[in-house]
């Protein structure tokens, strides 16, 4: 095991970043950023291309030296104790870290060996990881023959060889087809839930950040311009702790309508047609109390839509601009403004 448990106290910040700055000549890629990430957290860095996301990951993963500032992972300084940091981390960079002419197994064997893992343990670990992403039957095929989705799976399990406490993911779903994207996201969540792996993920996709991250740092021009949970970020621009719901109920009755209206958290209810209700509510528990009330009345709920300001609105509000790279070829789909059917309100529900 490569874990160095003694170095990390639970409930404490696993990653601490203070005034971290990286300049390339005159260009300041990362500009005086400060944040910390708790153990077991999924932390997202959201921002357009060139905002400094990748540079931040490179700084934290010891690939680049900071111009100024300090960063520690598990109490180890990324500059002075870089080899200790390297034992704790795994990195999935934007580029595939894989040799096309080696087989899947050879690739994993090579990288695993660099962590001086015992043969037996490494062998078992490779089997386990290949099984985990369903690539076992491709173990002896050269990685060059793999599809992009398969390569990215390899890329991720490669980063997991040393059982890292911290996993850095730099745009892990970039350029993947929708199915692979879903698979990779599920895998990241599972990893976090089952192994309590702390994850720092960068993305320019608002939905991805929303779906995966406990907290999100919005980064632009090298600066972190906002940092909070997805909900709080959205609330911060809607002015209050507001929830806007549209409910489609097949057996909508005046009684039900009255019950919902009577709820303490509910501000307004408007009936849009025979089955649709639009509800404005406030407070943290608003969503749950409305659903509970509706369920108690045995209402037949066909759909719920949680209309919220999206992260895109947040970004627009904070920077005064659209995400700069909407014209970027690499982005496969336009972001949906109101696409959160099923009303996800953060993880762990």
């Amino acid at each position: 095991m490569i874990y160095i448990e003694g170095a990390v106290l639970s409930n404490e910040s696993l990653i601490m970043v203070q005034n971290l700055t990286k300049a390339f000549g005159d260009f300041i890629a990362v500009d005086d950023i400060t944040f910390d990430i708790k153990k077991g957290e999924i932390f997202g860095l959201l921002g357009p291309n060139g905002a400094g996301k990748s540079t931040t990951i490179r700084l934290l993963s010891t690939l680049t030296r900071p111009t100024k500032g300090v960063a520690t992972i598990g109490g180890f300084d990324v500059v002075k104790q870089d080899n200790e940091v390297r034992k704790l981390i795994g990195i999935v960079s934007e580029k595939m870290i894989m040799y096309n002419r080696l087989t899947a197994r050879e690739n994993l064997w090579f990288f695993g060996n660099l962590f001086s893992m015992p043969r037996k343990e490494l062998n078992d670990r490779i089997d386990e990881l290949l099984e985990l992403v369903q690539l076992t039957k491709w173990a002896k095929a050269q990685v060059g023959t793999f599809s992009t989705g398969m390569k990215q799976k390899m890329n991720i399990i490669r980063a997991l060889l040393n059982m890292p406490q911290v996993l850095f993911l730099d745009e892990p779903t970039l350029g993947l087809d929708p199915q692979s994207t879903v698979e990779i996201r599920e895998f990241i969540k599972k990893l976090n839930q089952e192994h309590n792996t702390t994850i720092l993920i960068t993305t320019h996709m608002m939905t991805e950040a929303d779906l995966l991250c406990d907290r999100i740092g919005i980064i632009d021009h090298g600066k972190i311009v906002a940092l909070d949970t997805s909900t709080n970020l959205k609330n911060s621009i809607s002015g209050a702790n507001t929830t806007i719901l549209t409910l489609e109920i097949a057996n909508l009755t005046p009684d039900l309508l009255a019950t919902v209206r009577a709820l303490e958290c509910v501000e307004t209810v408007s009936q849009e047609n025979s089955s649709h209700l639009k509800i404005h509510a406030h407070g943290d528990a608003a969503f749950d109390s409305i659903i509970d009330a509706v369920r108690a009345k045995k209402a037949n709920v066909v759909s719920i839509q949680n209309i919220q300001p999206t992260l895109e609105d947040v970004f627009l509000h904070i920077t005064g601009r659209e995400v700069r790279d909407t014209a970027d070829q690499k982005i496969p789909l336009a972001e949906h403004r109101h696409g959160l059917v099923g009303a996800s309100r953060g993880r762990g529900r």
């Binding site: 690939l63 960079s93 580029k95 595939m96 040799y99 060996n113």
Partner: protein, 405 residues
């Protein structure tokens, strides 16, 4: 803390293994790896002029010899001598022509490269105690070929003259009843001086003996100097270098591992060249074959530092290749691999003395051709070791800095 040395070595071998696996899986690359030395050896061995390099020059022959009283002894004697000389050297391809003017026309058309005219009074002149004069028609546009033709004919005449002189003197002595002069010692009177060429080692040596060691040294050293930056900048560009950089390993093991792989590749090519040179071109190693390999490895050592420095400066593969090309060509031609350094002007010779390849090629040539041992090549050895050590001392900190920019 673990011993840093142990990890460095085992990780270096892992990286070398990985590089070689990639190399051997690359079919086309492997074919090129084998073809390169074959082309190099064949091309260089055949195109550069060596002693008997000019042959089969096509010439026209016009025989207008009228003879004396039906005898054409003069021209017949010349033709026999010419043919016997030609059968040894294959220098000329002789065809018959009708007249001097037809000959000139053919040269102009490019059908033949020169001509020989035996004038009508050739035999008569010799019989009447005058010099027999031949006319050689040369192609002014190709001085090298006409020079070769002239030297061939001069050699023929020399043989003819000597034979005639020997015959005349022996006949004369016999007429005078002088028994001190006979056919065995007459040559001492006709040609009292002669040259015998003796090399340091016995046997005949060709141009291949000169270039084979140079090409071997060059291939091995170049493969490290160019292969190292190319391999590292390629991994940097693809992104796989990061995979090694985030592992808790000594940065140097990346360089050492890659150097090992490139050295193996270079030595493989070196051995191929050696096999080709001895099978196809009759090159023979006079000295110790172990010393040859030791020298090749030392050559690699002297170039590693330079390769690493270049690696550190080259941001991408394209730049790396451009820097390589710029350095490679002067080095190829200035290091005495193809031409002896001694035939260069003095300032070029001075530049040549600063290049490690010069010393590697020199030492290798001494061992392979002259059968030299370590005592005879101490200068070269110390220069190579010193150059390598200084370059590595510069390269290590430069590389470490470049890797964590």
């Amino acid at each position: 803390m673990k011993m840093p040395g142990k990890g460095l070595i085992s990780n270096s071998f892992r990286i070398a293994w990985k590089d070689l696996m990639e190399l051997f899986r690359n079919r086309l690359g492997l074919v090129m790896l084998v073809l390169m030395p074959i082309f190099m050896m064949g091309m260089v061995g055949y195109i550069f002029p060596s002693n008997n390099s000019i042959s089969h020059v096509s010439v026209g022959l016009v025989n207008e010899d009228a003879g004396v009283g039906g005898f054409k002894n003069g021209s017949q004697f010349f033709l026999i001598a010419l043919n016997s000389f030609n059968s040894q050297t294959n220098m000329l391809d002789i065809s018959d022509a009708t007249s001097l003017s037809a000959l000139k026309e053919s040269v102009q058309k490019g059908d033949i490269q020169g001509g020989i005219v035996i004038p009508s009074n050739f035999t008569q002149s010799i019989f009447s105690g005058q010099q027999g004069t031949l006319i050689i028609v040369t192609d002014n546009s190709n001085p090298q070929v006409s020079a070769a033709m002239q030297s061939a004919l001069t050699a023929v005449f020399q043989q003819m003259g000597a034979a005639l002189a020997k015959y005349n003197i022996v006949e004369h002595a016999r007429a005078l009843n002088d028994s001190t002069i006979n056919e065995t010692n007459v040559l001492a009177i006709v040609q009292p001086y002669n040259i015998r060429v003796e090399g340091v080692v016995t046997g005949h040596s060709s141009y291949f003996d000169f270039i084979a060691p140079g090409i071997m040294a060059m291939t091995v050293m170049m493969s490290v100097m160019t292969g190292l930056p190319a391999a590292i900048s390629q991994e940097k560009e693809v992104g796989t270098l990061d995979g090694m950089m985030v592992a808790p390993i000594n940065r140097l093991s990346i360089i050492v591992g890659k150097t090992l792989a490139q050295t193996a590749r270079g030595l493989l090519q070196g051995v191929l060249i050696l096999i080709l040179a001895s099978l196809l071109f009759g090159v023979y190693i006079q000295g110790s074959i172990l010393l040859v390999f030791a020298l090749l490895l030392l050559g690699v050592f002297s170039f590693v530092g330079l390769g690493v420095v270049l690696t550190s400066f080259a941001k991408d593969q394209e730049t790396a290749m451009m820097i390589m090309m710029t350095l490679m060509f002067p080095m190829m031609f200035l290091s005495g691999v193809f031409f002896p350094v001694q035939q260069m002007p003095w300032y070029m010779q001075n530049i040549s003395k600063m290049l490690p390849l010069t010393y590697a090629a020199d030492a290798l040539r001494k061992v392979m051709v002259l059968g030299a041992g370590i005592p005879e090549i101490t200068t070269e050895l110390s220069v190579l070791i010193a150059f390598g050590a200084v370059m590595i001392a510069i390269a290590v900190p430069v590389f470490k800095r470049a890797m964590t920019r």
